[in-house]
């Protein structure tokens, strides 16, 4: 799996811990990494992704439906899964403020063997680390 993920675009380094089933992915400096592609590559390598957490820096924008989202690349943004933390960030939409958040992009649905990866990933904000 390590080689499989390491070949994905934007991946600089992959560390796998067999003991606790954790996979640490370090993106390249240019930040052009696609979390959905990583999830698909994980399934392709024969294992099941249970969770995916990210630390991301970006600007708060409104998506096409008017919902707040974190823009991490000019053409990539993640709509927030609404919670108290995401609501606290809504007022920053459209400003030049950069925020760094830790959040969950994916969690395997309970009771299902394989998740539906055709729907866009939503970001559940777990921690706002920085506003600048």
């Amino acid at each position: 799996m390590k080689q499989h993920l390491g070949r994905q675009s934007g991946v600089q380094n992959v560390e796998v811990s067999l003991i606790d089933g954790k996979v640490q992915v370090t993106p390249k400096e240019d930040g052009q990494i696609d979390p959905m592609q990583l999830l698909k590559a994980t399934y392709d390598s024969g294992v099941t992704a249970a969770e995916m957490d990210v630390i991301a820096r970006g600007k708060i924008v409104k998506d096409a439906s008017g919902d707040p989202a974190l823009q991490v690349e000019p053409n990539r943004s993640f709509t927030f899964e609404p919670n108290e933390l995401s609501k606290s960030l809504e007022s920053l939409a459209g400003t030049q403020t950069f925020v760094t958040v830790r959040g969950q992009l994916y969690k395997k649905p309970s009771g299902k063997k394989k998740a539906d990866l055709s729907v866009p990933l939503k970001l559940l904000v777990l921690e706002v680390q920085k506003k600048e």
Partner: protein, 35 residues
């Protein structure tokens, strides 16, 4: 000439810097079925 080049660099930097500052810094996955 040098002043014009410098001004152009400053302009390009101000346009591009917000983009380059946004990025995914780290990803952690928990996986099942790994041997």
């Amino acid at each position: 000439m040098d002043t014009r080049k410098f001004a152009l660099l400053v302009l390009l930097g101000s346009i591009l810097s917000p983009v380059t500052h946004a990025q995914i810094k780290h990803i952690e996955m928990r996986v099942e079925g790994m041997t």
